[in-house]
């Protein structure tokens, strides 16, 4: 528990936390307001049917969440890699190991703190997105009648939980990659490459890629191909037999646990020379 609380405290003071969150929330707000300000002009047929849908409640709730989960996946990979990699790059892991701390417990506690911060970031981004959408609706003169839609609001907790699981899993991928690379930069680079590589591969091997982390994340939250969403760098999975959201969520959990186990196991066995 001490390690977990300490991990949270460290993340709360870490500039990377605010940069990641700020970029995500800032981009979200900027895009929503820009779409609203342009009144949906410039539609080229590749976007959603109605660009103003993102400022039209109650549908805006799902679209905002979908956007966060799409772009947030990339940010989660980078964030997870940054945190895990810095433990090796800065040598702070070495210091706690020399103090007699359990390596695997330290890794798990650090990741648990990341999971909590990711959840808080998801909620905060969503809140900012809703405010931006309301602002955008006002600018675009779209009525705000649906903002209190009970049905849409009732579905949000489940969407949040699924989205949180997906984001945390994506973070765990970056976390594991950086741990294996023992480097912050290498971890971030490899994580980004994996993210876009999966998106690219989904064009050619959709039936294989549907089991890979970023596509699974999209499927699990039911946002595949949604506005700004979709996993694997934004590529929409087009598998011949798509996975159900519930099964995808199960696989998300498997990837999440697997990644943390790999990171902890590797750290436990690693010879720390740096």
């Amino acid at each position: 528990m001490r390690l977990f609380v300490s991990g949270l405290r460290k993340l709360a003071r870490r500039p990377a936390t605010y940069v990641t969150f700020g970029l995500l929330a800032g981009l979200l707000a900027l895009i929503i307001v820009a779409v609203a300000a342009s009144g949906g002009r410039g539609q080229n047929g590749n976007g959603p049917a109605d660009p103003l849908a993102i400022v039209t409640f109650p549908g805006a709730y799902d679209l905002i969440l979908s956007f966060i989960l799409g772009l947030g996946g990339l940010f989660a990979v980078v964030y997870g890699a940054a945190i895990a990699g810095s433990e090796w790059t800065w040598g702070t892991l070495k210091t706690v190991v020399a103090r007699g701390e359990s390596r695997s417990r330290y890794v798990v506690a650090t990741f648990a703190a990341i999971a909590v911060v990711a959840g808080v970031g998801l909620l905060a981004s969503f809140g900012i997105g809703v405010v931006a959408a309301a602002l955008g609706a006002t600018i675009a003169k779209v009525p705000l009648d649906g903002i209190g839609n009970a049905d849409a609001l009732g579905r949000l907790p489940e969407h949040f939980l699924r989205g949180w699981a997906a984001i945390v899993m994506e973070g765990s991928i970056g976390f594991a990659i950086a741990t294996l690379a023992r480097s912050q930069l290498a971890g971030i680079g490899a994580g980004i490459a994996f993210y876009f590589g999966e998106g690219f591969a989904s064009l050619f091997l959709p039936d294989v890629v549907k089991y890979l982390p970023f596509n699974l994340a999209s499927t699990a939250v039911g946002s595949g191909g949604g506005f700004g969403g979709g996993g694997g760098g934004g590529g929409a999975p087009v598998a011949s037999t798509p996975l159900s959201a519930d099964f995808a969520l199960l696989l998300v959990a498997a990837w999440l646990i697997g990644s943390v186990v790999v990171a902890a196991g590797f750290t436990e066995r690693a010879e720390i020379t740096g």
Partner: protein, 328 residues
């Protein structure tokens, strides 16, 4: 190995690929001393530190720490050990105090108030709230030492602790470490700063090419490395050397080629008067006398050519190297 030893290694070996970093290292560190672990760059000091702190797993050999066997799986042994391995490592965006708080969350429980205590000990209390990214190298080093002291350890392992410290910082560190030894703690200091170790350590171990080439109390080692330098009239050098030859074994009186009239006698410094008396008895009057110990000479003689050291750790190699200017 006995319970009186704070630390002991036997036949400790470690290789990185084909490079052998440690080759059967036998260290014996008594309790309650400052142990200076000396060696040139690449001799295996940091590898030893990493093995002692569980960062690495030895290929073979054993480690005993505070009277009990230690391996990487016995991490709880490290609860009584404080360590600073290589350069100090911190979160740059946190303050010094926050870094210590983060460190205190790992390993053994840290008593309330201990963080302020160690900050006081290393003289960082006034800068405790500053971010570590704004610290100088010396301040980071102090914070690293503070981190090592956090658990009030019985055994302190410090890798080059004087790195980056200013003279006042070095003196303060020396006093702190001496104080810790005085209250029964054991301080194991790895360094290549001979003068610093000479002032600090009670016991010295010298490592070269992954092997211990000499170990013993500083007093004993330096007694073996004592020298007395004598200046006589140039025309009396041969006679002086002949007279002094009766005091010391063959080859221990050396005439300086760089400074005519100077002779170097390998003899304990407390026998300086005896040297002077011997010359006077031969009607030779010294115009200059200097005495001292030369850890540097010992270090260089042992580490530049480990093969020159006899298997039993004697100084056969040292005498051999001085024959070119030997007069007796």
């Amino acid at each position: 190995m006995t319970a009186e030893l704070a630390l002991a290694t036997r036949a400790l070996s470690k290789s990185y690929g084909s490079r052998r970093a440690l080759d059967g290292l036998d260290l014996t560190v008594p309790t309650g001393v400052v142990y200076g672990f000396l060696g040139p760059n690449g001799a295996g000091k940091t590898t030893t530190m990493r093995l002692l702190t569980g960062l690495l797993r030895p290929d073979s050999g054993t480690i005993e720490m505070l009277g009990r066997p230690f391996s990487r799986s016995d991490r709880h042994r490290l609860f009584d050990v404080g360590a600073l391995v290589e350069s100090p490592s911190f979160y740059p965006y946190l303050s010094g105090k926050e870094n210590l708080r983060a460190l205190a969350s790992a390993g053994p429980r840290t008593p309330r108030g201990r963080i302020d205590e160690v900050l006081e000990i290393v003289g960082l209390r006034d800068r405790a709230s500053d971010k570590v990214s704004r610290y100088s190298l010396g301040m980071k080093q102090r914070l690293g030492i503070a981190g090592a002291l956090l658990g009030d350890p019985q055994l302190l392992l410090l890798d080059e602790p004087a790195n980056g410290l200013d003279p006042a910082g070095i003196v303060a560190m020396r006093e702190t470490l001496r104080h810790l030894a005085a209250i029964g703690k054991t301080v194991f200091v790895s360094s290549h700063l001979l003068a610093e170790v000479q002032q600090l350590a009670d016991v010295v171990g010298i490592i070269a090419a992954g092997r211990l080439v000499r170990e013993g109390s500083m007093k004993e080692l330096l007694a073996g490395e004592g020298i007395v330098r004598v200046r006589v009239a140039a025309q009396q050098v041969a006679a002086a050397a002949a007279a002094l030859a009766g005091l010391v074994p063959a080859g221990h009186v050396v005439q300086s080629t760089a400074e005519p009239g100077w002779l170097t006698v390998q003899i304990a410094p407390d026998r300086t008067a005896e040297v002077n008396r011997t010359l006077a008895n031969a009607s030779i009057y010294a115009s200059g006398l200097e005495s001292g110990n030369d850890l540097e000479e010992l270090f260089l003689s042992l580490t530049q050519d480990p093969s020159a050291v006899d298997p039993d750790g004697t100084f056969a190699g040292l005498a051999k190297r001085q024959t070119p200017t030997e007069v007796h």
